[in-house]
Symmetry: C2
Subunit: 199 residues, 2 copies
């Protein structure tokens, strides 16, 4: 069971680097396998966050909750082979402003910031890996900023489908809407219009 989850992490690392089996044995010692139930909060607002999570199985949503106006905004989803945390809080050692919730029962491989630093000392190839990961995330966010400015809601929806293939049945409609920055009603109408123009 557990072995499978670590195998996914191994494969994931090797998309950007080339770890030996020995090196990965070291990695395993630094990661912790954690199980969460549906609706569990992996990260709660207000907590100070030192941990980031690799999704071995399941589906997460990172979001900002606007208490006053009773609405929330999805920053990102995470399925298998994605990473999640409140990276804003993680990098700046501040209390979380975002939350991470489980949209499915999930199995996560977690690592703390300090542990990661030690691991990277032992396995330098991982420094490169995490740098690439950060660069890619940066680029993805920049693209999203641009897309939010220049694309219509429908185009952004299509971009979402490309960014998260096959995720649609795993998340609620209103959660997708809150990712796109529109209302569930609008998304519903967009879907309808697309279905009609299809055939």
């Amino acid at each position: 069971m557990a072995a499978l989850h670590y195998t996914l992490l191994f494969q994931h690392f090797n998309r950007y680097t080339a770890l030996s089996v020995e090196e990965f044995e070291i990695c395993k010692r630094y990661f912790k396998e954690e199980e969460f139930r549906l609706h569990d909060l992996v990260v709660k607002a207000g907590q100070t966050i030192y941990t980031q999570y690799f999704v071995a199985q399941g589906c997460l949503r990172t979001f900002f909750k606007d208490e006053q106006r009773d609405r929330d905004f999805t920053v990102q989803f995470a399925v298998e082979e994605w990473w999640a945390s409140d990276f804003m809080a993680y990098y700046n050692n501040q209390p979380a402003t975002l939350q991470v919730e489980c949209l499915e029962p999930s199995i996560l491989l977690s690592i703390e910031k300090k542990q990661l630093a030690l691991l990277q000392k032992e396995v330098p190839a991982l420094e490169t890996f995490f740098l690439r990961k950060l660069e890619n995330a940066f680029v993805a966010f920049q693209k999203r900023i641009l897309s939010n400015m220049k694309d219509t809601a429908e185009e952004r929806y299509e971009e979402f489908l490309r960014q998260y293939p096959n995720i649609e049945p795993r998340v609620k409609n209103f959660q997708i809407a809150s990712y796109l920055g529109i209302t569930p009603e609008s998304l519903s109408r967009i879907r309808k219009a697309r279905a009609q123009s299809q055939n």
Copy 2:
């Protein structure tokens, strides 16, 4: 003259690390001082970009130009102590999709990707520096995505004023509007409403 510009870079590095004078002497050898005129394009769309630029003096704008619809979108501004490039292209070794233009005559300290790698080998403290820089940029972009979703145009304008203090007289109104994702007319009206509610 030139010394002053490098002094600014030295100070800038030392906001996040602690370089010795000797280490900074090494840095100097890797950076190139470049002068640009008003309206010059530092980065043109289509070019492959290996360079990033530190603004020692002047003011730049990074933007995406939508040729078909004859409009553009500002990704970021850069004044003294900011860095500019098409980082999307820079990190992925792809042709630039963004452009960087000079809103003022500017003096930039440039460094190429490969040179930076060599420099970081010689001065390891800079690895940490550039990692922090990337983390901060990542966080800033995430904040902006959230802000674009939850804040009104007026709130985003106020956030812009905080993000870029004192930059307002240095850039055109319509360029600020294109950063906020609104039209110049809308920005004009927001300014008017703010002026009235002030006193």
